[in-house]
């Protein structure tokens, strides 16, 4: 790793692990000469024109200023003007003093972090390159022509989101009752706001700085608020009328990744055809997430939005069986995006699971059939194995299908369960029995081949494993049997892209091998992402894969190449939480509580698949959005 020649990031307290800055390995071969941002500066090339970099940084800050608070609105204009004067040989020595003075004043008094984070990089840069600045003020500095820049505006929540949705932007617009503007911004990075607003696992909220004060913003709930208003027809979105392009792109799978890719290609005027094996859109979002969490009407609305942008979805068409990639190339599709998901079950590695017993069914199949309105398993007692959200969906769905004795079996403790805490709470409210520290060793059946019980072993927690969670260790001789009528393993899902893809782009785990940044595979016209590349993962990451895949496909269609550019490097860079970590505690007490939507009572909700959670009201949404601290962070780099 190349070390910066000057590094004031975090006040040199410690160098955060910025291994992503190992720029020699960066596929785009872009290198940054220097960056300046909220926590200081990093300079890899001391010959960088620091005066021009300052001017670029201040111009960017000025452009991001929102006009609300006086010091940022007016002060950034003054500063940008002074810095520009320096680069044009119009500077005076007192300008340097004035720049430093304004930097400190704006940082001390601005309303949000656009202004508040400005002093540190400005002062660090002016100090580290004081000779250059003095020369510029005297008019004796040679001005470098054509130094190029790239910049990125982010925030802890934005950086935490795989798709980098501009959270502070839309929250502020909700606060001002400008719902349409808010939604336009959401849709720039999230094509399924109604879905994400209901089922996202919210990486943004875990990094919300308000959480250090009282409670994190209800970002998911606010996105759903907008989606609800959109479905009510209360928004007037900015019309999208991209110039139509002749190229067509084929997409495998109408799940979140595929729909997302089609949506963003559609926004660029590119027509797409989506080949979907199932009879309806949504993929795992539709067939894996029960409708009490995500109503079908929401997915239908969002798929319709994708079709409105020029996508055609061909249902009941499985690529590899009904049509091949060669067929698609023959039909003139210039590129393919593979978003095939991870629809296959994984094995529990216990006896009896492959005997074809009646009432034994993998969780994904159980949920898919329940989603189609069937009651796939019979009996009163069911055992679900697993600790993730799919397991939660299975137990809660089983409860709604009439199972009266629903048991969840997990080999570690609740603390290690990957499922959403709210899901666990609501499952428990619905009367699900939790059995922790147990692992299944045999599915038992009666003489007719019907499931009769699940033999388990008790576990205890040992040393932490690679994931940092303590590894469960079996207790010898602790076998016992849970009597039950049905068993549902829900311990993970598998990919099966080898069925239709060339061997060169398939990994030993049957996943798609694609570049993490661009989604491009070894076969240049084949792109892909989502669960089929990562294994089962969170929904927003699949949407992000679709978005970035679309961006790369456009680049590929335009230039034949989709090498990531400097802006991609900047995004990758801010993906490192270490960049943000030294935020000081906020100097006042937290006194607000986050707004919570109302939920149906447990005894009501187990009667049907009606949606459990209601959305926020306009008053609640405005109140909640007002709690956002707007922790914007600006990063400007000289190339």
């Amino acid at each position: 790793m190349r070390h910066p020649e000057i590094d004031t990031w975090n006040g040199k307290a410690r160098d955060p692990d910025l291994s992503v800055l190992d720029m020699e390995k960066w596929p785009g071969r872009t290198t940054l000469r220097a960056i300046m941002g909220w926590n200081g500066i990093k300079v890899w090339d001391k010959t960088v024109d620091a005066v021009a970099l300052l001017a670029a940084y201040l111009e960017k800050t000025k452009d991001e200023s929102c006009g609300q608070c006086t010091p940022c609105r007016l002060g950034t204009v003054q500063m940008a003007g002074l810095a520009k004067g320096l680069t044009q040989g119009r500077g005076k020595t007192e300008d340097l003093t004035r720049l430093k003075f304004l930097a400190v004043q704006i940082s001390r008094t601005a309303r949000c972090d656009i202004g508040r984070t400005l002093a540190r990089p400005v002062l660090d840069l002016m100090e580290s390159f004081s000779k250059d600045f003095e020369a510029a003020a005297r008019g004796t500095k040679r001005v470098e022509e054509g130094q190029a820049y790239t910049s990125l505006v982010t925030a802890p929540c934005v950086a935490a989101c795989p798709s980098h949705v501009d959270v502070p932007f839309y929250l502020e617009n909700i606060r001002m009752d400008r719902w349409s503007e808010a939604m336009d911004k959401v849709r720039e990075d999230c094509p399924m706001p109604g879905t994400i607003g209901r089922v996202c696992v919210r990486p943004c909220e875990t990094r919300c700085r308000r959480g250090n004060l009282d409670e994190a913003l209800a970002i998911k709930g606010l996105k759903r608020f907008l989606a609800d208003r959109e479905m009510e027809g209360k928004l007037t979105p900015k019309p999208l009328a991209p110039p139509k392009r002749p190229e067509r792109v084929a997409i495998v799978g109408a799940g979140p990744a595929g729909l997302s890719c089609a949506y963003y290609l559609g926004r660029q005027g590119i027509k797409t055809t989506i080949f979907e094996a199932q009879e309806g859109p949504g993929g795992m979002a539709a067939y894996g997430i029960p409708s009490y969490r995500l109503p079908r009407s929401v997915i239908a609305h969002e798929a319709a939005g994708v079709e409105a942008l020029g996508a055609v979805i061909r249902y009941n068409t499985r690529v590899g069986r009904d049509i091949t990639l060669e067929d698609l190339a023959g039909q003139g599709y210039k590129a393919v995006f593979v978003g095939a998901g991870a629809p296959g079950p994984t094995r529990m590695n216990c006896k009896g699971e492959d005997q074809g017993y009646e009432n034994f069914m993998p969780g994904v199949d159980f949920l898919a059939r329940a989603a189609r309105g069937e009651k796939p398993l019979n009996g009163d007692r069911v055992a679900v194995v697993g600790g993730g959200n799919v397991a939660m969906d299975c137990v809660r769905t089983a409860r709604r299908l009439g199972f009266t004795d629903v048991n969840l079996i997990y080999r570690r403790t609740e603390a290690e369960m990957p499922a959403d805490a709210l899901e666990i709470k609501e499952a428990r409210e619905e009367g699900v029995n939790f059995h922790m520290l147990m692992a299944p060793i045999e599915v038992q059946a009666d003489a007719d081949g019907k499931v009769s019980g699940l033999k388990c072993l008790r576990m205890e927690l040992g040393e932490p494993d690679k994931s940092g969670r303590r590894r469960p260790v079996p207790i010898e001789g602790s076998e016992f049997v849970i009597a039950c009528d049905a068993v549902i393993p829900a311990i993970g899902q598998a990919c099966a892209v080898d069925q239709f893809l060339p061997q060169a782009v398939v990994s030993e785990w049957n996943t798609l091998v694609a570049d993490k940044t661009t989604g491009q595979t070894q076969v240049p016209h084949i792109f892909g992402g989502g669960d089929c590349a990562t294994g089962p993962d969170i929904l927003i990451r699949a949407l992000a894969a679709g978005k970035y895949g679309a961006k790369s496909i456009v680049r590929y269609l335009d230039t034949g190449d989709c090498t990531p550019g400097p802006e991609d490097l900047m995004e990758a860079l801010t993906g490192n939480p270490a960049l943000f970590e030294t935020d000081p505690p906020l100097p006042y007490p937290g006194v607000t509580r986050r707004e919570e939507a109302s939920v149906l009572a447990p005894e009501t909700r187990i009667q049907s698949f009606d949606e459990v959670e209601a959305g926020l009201s306009p008053a609640q949404a405005r109140q909640e959005a007002n709690r956002c601290l707007r922790c914007y962070r600006i990063l400007v780099a000289a190339l």
Binding site: Q68, T70, R108, T109, E172, M176, P589
Partner: protein, 373 residues
């Protein structure tokens, strides 16, 4: 109760109070520009920033919650410098000429002369003497360099009959936005803020006249001379007017008015900020519908119509005529042939007498009030 200190004084406060509320309760003055009573603080102008021990940041008193043990300084040198810098920026951001109006005209620079040539800028600013920015500029001894002035290129909206919106004096405090959306709920002034790159034309709180009722709440909320009414423009300085509190005569709500009077003549009406029931709010009639009282066409004596022509009459003659005709109508057609409509502008006691007259004297229930229509 928890305790904090402001300027070394230990003060008790209720959890949930802001620093500004604690200060005001204890008569400690912290200046504000954008703070509008009764609305959620927006923290926009940053004039109310104070020093809180333990942080380099200055915090806005209006929206920062008071915390146990906080050590607050409201007028430290750092606070003074920050406020002065902000006021300087605000004065420099528009056509603010008031600070030079008393120096001789030949000493003015080209900016100042340029400002005087703008529409509505020929004389003193309509807020002169009653302007929070002017007060602060004087208090903090602010001087603005000529080359910092940005007075050109702001829009002017003087196309409607009552209110002038001169954005060259606007300091973007957002009070008019809140007055319109949160106080009156007319939703005629959309918050204009957003990334500068998305707002190349600037951020001006323009009014949407499809929704505007011309109530003038925004004018009353404006702390400077950006929003003003045409009627009082140029008629008097704030300190030349007497203030008389009265009750609005238009309808039965009883809003409290403050008449701004010079030489016995009402020039302007505002709502009484702390007076119930309206707490400063007024409608278009109460605020702007007052100049008819000086109309030459007002009736000054009763008139009786004879042969199609009105002639002046005395009160006795007119009332005798009415009494006689009423008596005849009642005798011929019964009391229900009469009906009374009491005027909403009457005081409560007069309206009571009116219904008594109809019910007890004329013996009819045909009595109503024009505010019901």
């Amino acid at each position: 109760m928890p305790i904090l200190s402001i300027n070394h004084n230990s003060l008790e406060f209720q959890p949930g109070m802001t620093i500004l509320e604690v200060a005001r309760k204890n008569n400690i003055h912290i200046p504000t520009l954008c703070h509008l009573a009764g609305c959620t603080p927006t923290g926009q102008c940053r004039i109310c920033v104070v020093e809180v021990g333990g942080t380099d940041e200055l915090l806005p008193a209006c929206e920062t919650p008071a915390g146990e043990g906080m050590k607050i300084m409201t007028h430290s040198p750092g606070v003074h410098e920050a406020r002065k810098t902000i006021i300087e920026m605000l004065v420099a951001s528009g056509a603010h000429n008031c600070l030079v109006m008393q120096s001789p005209a030949d000493s003015w620079n080209s900016d100042q002369k340029g400002i005087m040539e703008q529409p509505w800028h020929g004389g003193l600013c309509p807020a002169y003497g009653d302007c929070r920015l002017q007060d602060l500029a004087v208090e903090y001894d602010v001087h603005v360099k000529e080359d910092h002035l940005a007075w050109e290129g702001h829009p002017l909206d003087d196309a409607t009959p009552i209110i002038v919106r001169d954005f060259s004096r606007c300091i973007l405090c957002g009070r008019c936005v809140q007055a319109c959306n949160d106080v009156q709920v007319n939703l005629a002034i959309t918050p204009p803020w957003g990334r500068r790159a998305d707002h190349p034309e600037g951020w001006y709180p323009a009014a949407d006249y499809e929704a505007c009722t011309h109530c003038g709440e925004c004018v009353q909320a404006c702390p400077v001379g950006a929003l003003f009414d045409r009627k009082s423009f140029g008629k008097a300085l704030a300190n030349e007017m007497d203030h008389i509190r009265t009750t609005c005569p238009y309808c039965g709500v009883g809003c409290q008015l403050l008449l701004h009077v010079k030489d016995g003549k009402i020039l302007k009406v505002t709502g009484v900020e702390d007076g119930s029931p309206n707490k400063g709010r007024l409608c278009v009639k109460g605020r702007f519908g007052f100049d008819f009282i000086y109309s030459e066409e007002r009736l000054t004596s009763p008139l009786i119509k004879e042969n199609g022509e009105f002639r002046k009459a005395s009160w006795d003659e007119a009332l005798d005529l009415v009494a006689q005709k009423f008596t005849t109508i009642i005798q011929e057609s019964g009391p229900d042939a009469l009906a009374g409509v009491s005027c909403a502008r009457s005081i409560n006691e007069d309206s009571y007498q009116m219904q008594k007259l109809f019910r007890a004297v004329f013996k009819t229930n045909n009595i109503d009030h024009c505010a019901r229509t």
